[in-house]
């Protein structure tokens, strides 16, 4: 990639990168009732990470965020598949999702769904996929 990076880019990324990351996590949780969800949240996280990789060099980001994206895909798939299986132990078909409302401290009445861990799996696969593909191409020397 580019050898010299402008300092402005550096500074802006430090701030916006984390704003985007935070927003992506908000999008992920907002998913059930507002625009957002695993796919969108995952894509946005990936774009924030890509921004970081673009403004700093690959090696230092690898040290700062030591994720193995291949494993992230595997973990994501496993989470989604296992959430689907849990319902089967109670006699429901595969991938039946459940939800209920709970009183939680601080948050007040909150809806908890089994769709959330399922979506978390989707989120991880999307981040893993995007990052793995982009990094593989970026690191290719030939």
């Amino acid at each position: 990639m580019m050898k010299s990076r402008p300092i402005q880019f550096h500074v802006v990324t430090r701030i916006t990168g984390f704003i985007i990351l935070t927003f992506s996590i908000f999008l992920f949780f907002a998913g059930h009732n507002n625009p957002g969800g695993g796919f969108i949240g995952g894509l946005m996280t990936a774009s924030a990470l890509v921004l970081l990789y673009l403004s700093f060099d690959v090696q230092s980001i690898k040290k700062a965020i030591p994720f193995d994206y291949t494993q992230m895909i595997a973990v994501g798939l496993a989470i989604s598949i296992i959430t689907g299986i849990v319902g089967m132990f109670f006699g429901f078909p595969y991938l039946t999702q459940f939800f209920d409302y709970f009183q939680l401290p601080i948050l007040g009445e909150t809806e908890l769904t089994t769709a959330l861990p399922f979506d978390l799996g989707i989120y991880l696969v999307v981040v893993g996929f995007t990052m793995l593909t982009i990094l593989t191409i970026a690191e290719d020397e030939a």
């Binding site: 990639m1 999008l27 998913g31 059930h32 009732n33 507002n34 625009p35 957002g36 969800g37 695993g38 796919f39 969108i40 894509l43 946005m44 990936a46 774009s47 890509v50 673009l54 994206y69 291949t70 895909i73 595997a74 994501g76 798939l77 989604s80 598949i81 689907g84 595969y94 991938l95 999702q97 939800f99 209920d100 809806e111 769904t113 769709a115 399922f118 979506d119 799996g121 989707i122 696969v125 999307v126 893993g128 996929f129 995007t130 793995l132 593909t133 982009i134 593989t136 191409i137 970026a138 290719d140 030939a142």
Partner: protein
């Protein structure tokens, strides 16, 4: 779920834990953890045997699997299933015990793989014989092929192992696939996948046009699995598997699955002349072909492989002849035909005992001398006395000598064939006289290869220089299993009637259920001495001519017949495979140009052509503007901007402007989503566009300097026509679907989602609820695809083909 369900599932459950045992207890041979499973199952199944002589009641338990498709996991245990289940677990236990000594627990030996495959096979095989639902049978059936292939390729670094595994996989799986087609035809005729219900409708469906096709397809499954001519060629190559596997899968159990299938379907198809002729003639020819080929083999396992082929043919032909019993109403004819079914069941047990012990003995010889070649072996009688004794018993039984169990079934086989020749149905009298002649000739060759096996290995001169290691007797652990089997050979030979009412009568009852009235049962009485009848003289003739041929072997030892070993039929398989590969390559050469635009064009042209064909052939081409919605000027503006950007793309020459224009199109689509109130889609589209820009930036780094290609006008016009056609087809399809919906007053599925998203899934965002809940499986499979694509991308980039190297 009943206990019987767990009988079939227990090996699978155990298989999950075996690798853990392997890694936790490296010192202990993993086989010891596996051994209790078949042993416990055997003891449990043994309790089902009607030891008091009362008729056996079939046991049935059902668990729904996919009820909407009539697929139930129903276990059905009658005499026939019990016979097979006992063989599978009994021989299984002995084989596991034997394998503990055969495959040493040394570093690098993937024992956990071996036992996981073996347990997988055991479970699948139990599933086949215990299930009543045809689809469940099919699933387990293919699993046995799969497990068998994995076991053949256990030592996969050997090229021959991989060849044998692939061959057995291709032949048995394609046969299984044909069988599935047969099952579906049966479903079409009877409306049920339950075997027992199909049997109850057996009389009604025989006039259906698809009846014969279903029969032949089911037989294709049985014949490929049970290595009947001309599909038998996979079995000799399967001998590359470790010997315990050969003893278990390729002689005692898996290859008998085809026999099981034929026996199971006898109440459905039996009584038809085609069934009688196809099975009897294929069986007899296989018997002859196998025994003649066995004589040519120099490898002990090769002899046993062809011998198994030939013995399977024998059992098959007996079932074919016995199927005539379904047709008879008269009592005399009945007993003439039932003797064949009885012989089939008896020989099934006998073959499992003597062939199992012989395979184990050959494994011992191989293990202790380092070779199985009869040209190098010799004189082992005094060095390995116990092994020799076991072999002597096994081989004598195989040759059909008294007082061993093989003699009984062989006599009955002759008798059955003599009877079959005289049936006054199916025009049996036309070619029926050939049956006993083929049977007798094949038996002469059987006797000959038995003598070769025994005398070439154990007598003659012992030459240590030809052997890999110094020969000595095997450790006792290795000898236990073959000794037990040889003991059974003698036991069943001397007291055959202990099998008669416990297992043979119930299994005959399962094969020929319609012959009996309520409460009746077959009475089987097996004895050695039948008086001086034709069958006895046939046996004497076999011994005489077989011995004569062996004594005069020197006369044909130099002939091309004896020197060649390979089955000539392999030519068809090998050239078929080469043809398949070169055919696929030539298709690829046309289609795989390596240019993305070609691939894209193929897809688009195919799509447009099929779509327009469907539109025209179903008269669906209706365009109706009556229900079109209002078009706001804002929307017109957005679409116009998109059109301009799209049309401009082909005319720009610089690559960067093309990318920018494509980006513009993408962002306008996002805008369109916003206008049409789909915030989720808009957000996704925006993010995808953003990530795409980054991706393109990265790719730019690798792209060569741009060089505008100059195309001929014809090429450009072709592209133009294709793109216009695709656009037109998509637009027309959209309009036609729209018109169709209003014409037929179809409620869109989105109504359902709108109504139920909050009610059923507790989410206000319908798009997300569809993704994670209503269509969760779709999403799951989509991300699975993403994962696979990511791996493919990594592989493509990291392991790039060198110049001139093909992928």
């Amino acid at each position: 779920m009943s206990t019987l369900h767990f009988v079939a599932l227990a090996p699978f459950i155990a298989a999950i834990f075996i690798p853990a045992f392997y890694f936790l207890f490296r010192r202990v041979h993993t086989g010891w953890f596996v051994l209790p499973i078949p042993l416990v199952l055997f003891i449990y199944l043994f309790t089902y045997l009607p030891l008091g002589g009362e008729p056996m009641e079939a046991v049935q338990h059902s668990v729904p699997w996919v009820p909407s498709l009539d697929i139930f996991f129903t276990v059905y245990l009658d005499g026939l299933s019990l016979l097979f289940a006992l063989l599978i677990t009994g021989i299984g236990a002995l084989v596991v015990l034997y394998s503990i000594y055969y495959i040493a627990n040394k570093d690098g030996e993937p024992l956990h793989n071996f036992y996981v495959y073996l347990l997988m096979f055991m479970g699948a095989m139990l599933g086949v014989v215990l299930s009543d639902n045809l689809i469940v049978i099919y699933v387990f059936w293919e699993l046995t092929s799969f497990a068998s292939s994995l076991l053949i390729a256990y030592w996969f670094h050997k090229e021959k192992s991989r060849y044998g595994a692939q061959k057995s996989m291709l032949i048995t799986v394609s046969g299984g696939f044909a069988m599935l087609a047969g099952f579906t035809l049966l479903y079409g005729m009877t409306g049920t996948f339950s075997l027992q219900e199909i049997i109850s409708q057996a009389g009604a469906i025989s006039a259906e046009p698809a009846f014969l096709a279903a029969m032949i397809l089911v037989l294709a499954g049985a014949f490929t699995k049970s290595a009947q001519f001309p599909f038998h060629i996979w079995l000799p190559d399967a001998m590359e598997a470790p010997t315990p596997v050969s003893a278990y899968l390729h002689s005692a159990t898996m290859v008998k699955a085809g026999i099981y299938l034929v026996a199971r379907f006898t109440p459905v198809f039996g009584g038809e002349p085609q069934w009688f002729w196809i099975i009897t003639s294929f069986g007899l020819f296989t018997l002859l072909w196998g025994s003649v080929s066995a004589v040519r083999q120099k490898d002990l396992k090769g002899i046993l492989a062809f011998s198994t082929v030939s013995q399977l043919g024998l059992i098959m032909s007996l079932l074919g002849a016995g199927s005539a019993a379904v047709h008879f109403d008269v009592v005399e004819g009945e007993s003439m035909a039932t003797v064949a079914v009885m012989a089939a069941m008896l020989h099934l047990i006998n073959h499992a005992t003597f062939k199992g012990s012989l395979f184990m003995v050959v494994g011992i010889v191989d293990h202790e001398t380092g070779t199985r070649d009869i040209r190098r072996l010799g004189g082992l009688m005094t060095i390995m006395p116990i092994t020799f004794s076991i072999s002597l018993i096994g081989i004598a039984a195989m040759a059909g000598l008294p007082p061993f169990n093989g003699f009984l079934s062989k006599e009955m086989f002759f008798e059955g064939m003599l009877h079959a020749a005289q049936f006054d149905v199916f025009n049996a009298q036309t070619f029926g006289w050939l049956f006993p002649i083929i049977a007798w000739t094949a038996s002469v060759f059987t006797f000959l290869y038995c003598m070769i096996m025994l005398f070439r290995t154990f007598t003659g001169e012992h030459d240590p220089s030809k052997l890999e290691k110094e020969a000595h007797e095997a450790p006792i652990g290795m000898l236990i299993s073959p000794i037990i089997l040889a003991g059974l050979v003698i036991l069943f030979g001397l007291f055959p009637n202990m099998l008669a009412y416990t297992i043979i009568e119930p299994s005959m009852q399962a094969v020929l259920p319609d012959l009996l009235g309520a409460g009746e049962q077959f009475y089987v009485n097996i004895y050695h001495w039948h008086g001086f009848n034709t069958a006895l003289f046939m046996t004497l003739g076999v011994v005489f001519f077989g011995a004569l041929l062996f004594v005069n072997m020197r006369r044909f030892e130099a002939s091309a017949f004896y020197l060649g070993e390979r089955d000539p039929l392999n030519w068809f398989y090998d050239s078929g495979m080469t043809g398949l590969i070169s055919g696929a390559q030539s298709v690829d050469a046309v289609q795989m140009t390596g240019k993305l635009r070609h691939y894209f064009m193929f897809m688009m042209v195919f799509f447009s052509v099929t779509m327009s064909y469907i539109l025209l052939s179903t008269n669906a081409l209706v365009i109706d503007w009556a229900n079109a919605g209002e078009l706001s000027p804002y929307l017109v503006l957005v679409v116009a901007a998109m059109l301009v950007a799209t049309v401009a793309i082909p005319f720009v020459s610089s690559r960067i402007s093309a990318v920018v224009l494509i980006g513009v199109v993408g962002f306008i689509i996002a805008l369109l989503f916003v206008v049409l109130r789909a915030p989720d889609l808009a957000l996704t589209q925006l993010l995808v566009e953003t990530v795409m820009v980054v991706l393109l930036l990265l790719v730019f780094y690798h792209l060569p300097e741009i060089r505008k290609e100059n195309f001929k006008p014809a090429f450009k016009i072709g592209n133009f026509v294709v793109s216009i056609a695709v656009g037109a087809v998509v637009t027309i399809t959209g309009l036609a679907v729209h018109a169709f919906r209003y014409d037929n007053a179809i409620n869109p599925i989105s109504d359902y989602f709108v109504e139920n998203a909050y009610e059923l899934a507790g989410g206000k965002n319908m798009v997300n609820v569809i993704l994670v809940d209503f269509r969760g499986l779709d999403t799951l499979l989509e991300v699975l695809v993403l994962g696979i694509v990511a791996i493919a991308a990594v592989v493509l980039v990291k392991f790039k083909a060198k110049d001139g190297e093909d992928v």
